[in-house]
């Protein structure tokens, strides 16, 4: 398929898919807690409501950072689904995350400040693993380009089991789920109130929500890449991984940032680099 078409399809369809995933997440979590839970379309109602609310802010420029965050996340996903260089995709996502963090710093409030610091720690925690996943895919498929990786014969996960497990660990952090929901949490307010999203309201908060949807679809697309040679299996595994992430979210309590950072780096070093080392030796 034409890369431009794929990118446009992503830009248009990802919020729908992402919103449904978020709704499904809330419903499944509720069922795990013996509740009924909201309708699947609830996230869309939330975003629509937020869009119509007054935009309160501590500092008006804080919203511009979030706008850039949203635009760059969409750009990242579009790049990914158009088949571009995976490293550039990662760096684009990093830039997007930095804008989000800077917006929270700009809001100049203690809770958003803590959320921002912790979000930075989270980025520091998952970035090595994410880069390593790209490196692992390069070593196996000889290309950094997503379209090249996607058309590789053979399941990547068979050559990269350690990297895959490490990537799922990193996903838990990237999806901002327990035990790594250090910077903000969709659950009831906890010790950091709303963390990094505390001082955003109205349209800006809606944009953050939508950006998270775009990000979810992009990340699940990356999970798909591990199984790309068998498309049906890929989609199924993406959903299975997401379900697993939701399960872990409901089972664990939040870790302290030291434990989050330490465990993430340990997993990267052992599972990720172990895998790479084995691959290098086998060459």
């Amino acid at each position: 398929m034409n890369p431009w078409l794929q990118a446009i399809l992503y830009v248009v369809a990802a919020p729908v898919v992402g919103g449904l995933l978020a709704g499904w997440d809330r419903r499944v979590s509720a069922r795990m807690q013996s509740r009924r839970g909201p309708p699947i379309l609830q996230p869309f109602y939330d975003v629509l409501k937020l869009w119509q609310k007054q935009n309160l802010a501590v500092c008006f420029s804080q919203n511009y950072y979030v706008l850039l965050f949203l635009l760059l996340v969409i750009f990242t996903g579009a790049l990914f689904f158009a088949g571009a260089d995976l490293l550039l995709v990662i760096f684009a996502l990093t830039t997007a995350s930095i804008f989000f963090v800077l917006g929270a710093y700009k809001a100049s409030s203690p809770y958003s400040f803590i959320g921002a610091e912790r979000e930075l720690i989270q980025i520091m925690a998952y970035e090595p693993m994410v880069l390593l996943t790209a490196i692992g895919m390069y070593i196996t498929t000889k290309t950094f380009y997503v379209h090249g990786i996607a058309s590789h014969h053979g399941l990547l996960v068979l050559a990269l089991p350690g990297v895959f497990l490490g990537f799922v660990f990193a996903l838990e952090i990237k999806f901002r789920k327990s035990p790594f929901d250090l910077s903000c949490s969709h659950h009831a307010h906890q010790e950091l109130v709303r963390g990094i999203t505390t001082e955003f309201s109205g349209r800006t908060l809606a944009m953050i929500e939508v950006a998270h949807w775009y990000e979810s679809v992009f990340l699940l697309g990356w999970v798909y890449l591990f199984f790309a040679s068998s498309p049906v299996l890929g989609v199924v595994m993406a959903l299975v991984v997401y379900a697993f992430v939701v399960l872990v979210d409901n089972v664990f309590a939040r870790l302290k940032w030291q434990a989050a950072l330490g465990s993430a780096w340990a997993v990267t070093a052992v599972l990720g680099f172990g895998n790479i080392m084995v691959l290098s030796l086998l060459r």
């Binding site: 509740r35 839970g37 609830q42 629509l48 409501k49 609310k53 007054q54 109130v193």
Partner: protein, 147 residues
């Protein structure tokens, strides 16, 4: 119009309540009543909230706090006074430290009676608040039009 009625986010504040009404409010989130079915989320952050749910009567300490929180709620907002104390001061009405119910500080839209108010009544109150909120939305849209 989808949106406001389907996604009411609540800021729950205890002014000087004995916590009876608070426990009943939190019980609404439990599996038996599960108020998330109608999209209610208990956010602790005024900037994210639509409905300001206040329990307990107003004393000196809570005056400033209620005003601050009320100002930090984005429009359109609805105030729900839960329990007898929030409505009028309840049995503590004549105490030296109580200035009255919540309506002595901010305009209240829905009163939920009871001591302690029952979860069913609280949910009823929230649903009534949604209707009030819809009215306020319509007014907000009308105000925006000529601009």
């Amino acid at each position: 119009m989808y949106g406001p009625k389907q996604s009411p986010w609540i800021l729950h504040y205890d002014a000087s309540s004995c916590n009876g009404c608070d426990i009943e409010t939190l019980a609404c989130l439990t599996p038996i009543f599960d108020v998330e079915r109608i999209g209610v989320l208990n956010t602790g952050n005024p900037k994210h909230a639509d409905i300001f749910l206040v329990t307990g009567a107003v004393n000196e300490q809570s005056k400033g706090v209620i005003l601050n929180l009320y100002r930090q709620l984005p429009d359109p907002k609805v105030v729900v006074a839960v329990g007898a104390c929030a409505a009028s001061g309840g049995i503590f009405r004549d105490c030296y430290n109580i200035s009255g119910g919540v309506d002595s500080i901010v305009p209240v839209d829905v009163y939920v009676p009871g001591c302690a108010a029952r979860p069913e009544a609280i949910i009823d109150g929230v649903v009534k608040a949604l209707a009030v909120m819809e009215e306020k939305y319509k007014q907000m849209q009308l105000q925006k039009e000529p601009a």
